[in-house]
Symmetry: C2
Subunit: 415 residues, 2 copies
Amino acid sequence: MAITSTSLTTREKLARAMAAAARLAQLSTEERNGLLRGMADVIAAQREKILAANRKDLERADVPEAMRDRLLLNSERIARMAQGVREVAALADPVGEVLAEWKRPNGILIRKIRVPLGVVGIIYESRPNVTVDVAALCWKTGNAVVLRGGKEAARTNQQLVELLTGLPGVPEGAAELLDSSTRESAQELMRGRGMVDVLIPRGGAGLIANVVENATVPVIETGAGNCHIYVDESADFEMADRIVINAKTQRPSVCNAAEKLLVHAGIAGEYVPRIVEKLVRAGVEVRGDEAACRLSRQVKAATEGDWLEEYLRLCLAIKVVADVEEAIAHINRYSTKNSEAIVTANEVRARKFLRQVDSATVYWNASTRFTDGGEFGFGAEMGISTQKLHCRGPFALAELTSSKYEIIGTGQVRG
Amino acid sequence: MAITSTSLTTREKLARAMAAAARLAQLSTEERNGLLRGMADVIAAQREKILAANRKDLERADVPEAMRDRLLLNSERIARMAQGVREVAALADPVGEVLAEWKRPNGILIRKIRVPLGVVGIIYESRPNVTVDVAALCWKTGNAVVLRGGKEAARTNQQLVELLTGLPGVPEGAAELLDSSTRESAQELMRGRGMVDVLIPRGGAGLIANVVENATVPVIETGAGNCHIYVDESADFEMADRIVINAKTQRPSVCNAAEKLLVHAGIAGEYVPRIVEKLVRAGVEVRGDEAACRLSRQVKAATEGDWLEEYLRLCLAIKVVADVEEAIAHINRYSTKNSEAIVTANEVRARKFLRQVDSATVYWNASTRFTDGGEFGFGAEMGISTQKLHCRGPFALAELTSSKYEIIGTGQVRG
């Protein structure tokens, strides 16, 4: 059984994680899946301990109201956490997959094999289910995980990590929880060159910007989403209504919610008043450019800042554009390259939009809300990458791996 | 024809590169290959202009002798540069490849497509052929390139970039050369968040460490190679000799040259004196641990620093190990995770070594010198990645791409 590591320094914890990564990488698929089933069992069995730790976190005076719901665990949420781990255990194992194999004229055989990344670092905020989700995804793929959660969830996270690392067969250091009460632990994680193979920030724009600015270890940038929907001249209005209302209102606080609506000038006179009416009825504050303001009194004037802003609430800005080219140009200038959609019956314009919009996920006649590992059928999600290196868009198990070349010869040397 | 951009600021050049990336990404395979054939033609046709610029660089008083050969161009080298570009033009185009495609139960069709990275930044040292190689690889894959070469090669690079960007059909900004006379241009490139999709340092350890330390844009770390060869108890000595001598002496200044030799204790008494004799005859300075020193008077005592050092010259350190497990542990502790080899006739130990050595390329009975895009059959090489994110080991065209999800629906919204 692994000892609890709260008294260790951050560097010591990173060194333990490196040693654990080497051991986890050598486990078989069945052994790693066994660890995950053990995780699910202990979470379900020790529900009361977890709830008690969570209550202590919630009792702290300085937890803002908005954070309470994200921090709160209850029996149902704990059951869902355990169920999620069981589902990850049942997914196919990407590790060991032969990605390519070929022989060279000199007779050497080259084989490219999928291997774990090694040590995966995560910096996140208040939701304690992330602790369990991320540990499950990392162990599933043979990686050690170093967790730096929010200080609000410190006791809950401590309890969860103690339960997970106490399981039989878990290598010491397989999940290391860093001190959330100081900034130094996050700094050391971000600058743990040679000890951390990837660092993934999960949280708001400030957290992500801080990591990108300060990290010297490789980072996968996640999360921001100033998403656009372009309603083309030849759109089916009912379909457009359905997609716009869903993408804006179904869950406005997430990164794949729509923030901007672009409308073709040829239909703006009819479509803008129609959709503004529906949006306002759904509780959405609507802003817009001059043309949109002229078309509806319920539209307030947007400023330049509106086109860049990710509202993450029931607010939307409308711009009237001359054609699909102007829509594409506006999106490529202002979007965060997460998710954008075109609504049109015109295939030529749809193909142009799909091809030329430089975003991770581009939709034709569907809601931007589908940008999600679960909705893509991955069975899990580690995050949504908004960078182009390593992976782009929703990512899960396969993206927690790297590759390695194994070469077999018969004494070949280079001439 | 694109105008020369020497009078622009670094930020202006990055903005031009972004605009060019959007245009390059829309070119067809044939159009991009046409640009490369034009590159090859103009390099061959304007040989005298290039040689004249190169002579001016060479005439500068402050070029150290070691750098002169790397900087020097002649007719043969220029012809080889042009030929290299023609070969890249003839390679298969990775852009547009459908990496995966599937339908979800709700009817949306998800297609994952290979797309250009966008803007690729390179910081490199004195070899001007890198300018042409890298521009060819980037344009081939629909990327714009921002080049920050060494100040010794400033005039040669300027002449080359002028010729390339002056070709008909090349979007303005497709290759931007940054000012090599100040550190600021490199700093701005490293911190061009939102403008640079990947930055690749090509050069010595100091250059790479500087980029990793200061960059806020995604980086592919390349190059370091403290490579090991482990000669097992059951090795064929003649094969071991051939591999050790080749890996150490064929080109000692490169990252895949061997720097350390581990020898199984069971054969050390016979093998260490034998290989030391051959190494010394080949002009190699040999260092070693106590056991190796006892076995040959020609071995000087190694210090702890030797096990970490990448000599990049005719020097090698020998350590006697008890078994393959000790060899693996030593390598995973001291190597830079580039290339390592085992020489053995024992398949069980070979498989263990291939699986447990955590390096980008691991060999069984072959020289570490094969770690190279050309030797792998890629037809080109952008570098050798020593990180695990995005790509690992030798990389070329495919690794200069990202992916994008195109999703086609019929009005689906999320429930």
